[in-house]
Symmetry: C2
Subunit: 136 residues, 2 copies
DNA sequence: CAGTATCCTTGCGGATACTG
DNA sequence: CAGTATCCGCAAGGATACTG
């Protein structure tokens, strides 16, 4: 059975939050859910400051296009800082902003929870994946 | 300046997590980032058990199509439980699963952080939104 | 009431080729 | 090296109409 106080606590917290912009939260999660965003934030969080190509090297599968796109997105979101040294050949480095580090920090407990409950998610997938996966 | 120990703590935690499936985390966030997922989870978390139409009434803007789609998605993800009473006229109720309540709980600190840092996000938007919003 | 069935637009993500 | 420029397929999201 579920802890009732947990639910009530959630209620109180959610009510307080509902007053603010609900779209902002979804916005952040939408961008965070994009294919490469989490990986880049994670990589920059671990490595500190990296060049464009170096990020690409550490994240197998990403194309230059998507890397640039995602980095620009993260920059617009204020999570990543871009340093263009205006040299020839070009040298550009990316690093997490304080906001980016903050997000990374906030994400960690969530990630751990997801992994702890991976079985639960997979179980749900199997229950429904076989039955009605084909119609979507 | 940013707390260095924070970064190192993040590093350690992230390294531990990287070993596991990175796609799963992104998967959860992708679904959570979908247009109506958060709102539904929040609504069900606060209200408990609701009928299809009642959810729609509490979330202005959602169409029946998207409501059904999102609910089905959440059901497949194991976050929401669907009760079909097989009556006529139809009566179907939705409620959060334990996993759903768990996710909601995990989300709350993240949401609070997002709202606390809303100024930071908006500031970033304004800095870049004006300059290069037109080319995307 | 609780959905499906269509049709449409938008944006993500990828492949490939090119440029300063 | 750090990008752009084009091309494409796919899925999210929305509008509208219909059904058991």
């Amino acid at each position: 059975m579920i802890d009732k106080t947990l639910i009530e606590h959630s209620q109180a917290a959610c009510d307080a939050l509902s007053a603010d912009d609900d779209g902002l939260k979804r916005d952040v999660l939408t961008h965070a859910g994009n294919r490469w965003s989490l990986g880049i934030v994670h990589t920059l969080g671990v490595a500190g400051k990296l060049r464009h190509a170096e990020i690409g090297r550490r994240m197998s599968g990403v194309t230059q296009r998507m890397l640039t796109r995602t980095l620009r997105q993260l920059e617009r979101d204020g999570l990543v800082i871009r340093h263009d040294y205006r040299e020839m050949p070009p040298r550009v480095e990316y690093e997490l902003s304080p906001l980016g580090y903050g997000l990374l920090t906030q994400m960690i407990p969530l990630w751990m929870w997801v992994i702890e409950n991976a079985d639960g998610f997979r179980a749900a997938r199997e229950r429904f994946g076989d039955a009605e996966a084909d119609d979507e």
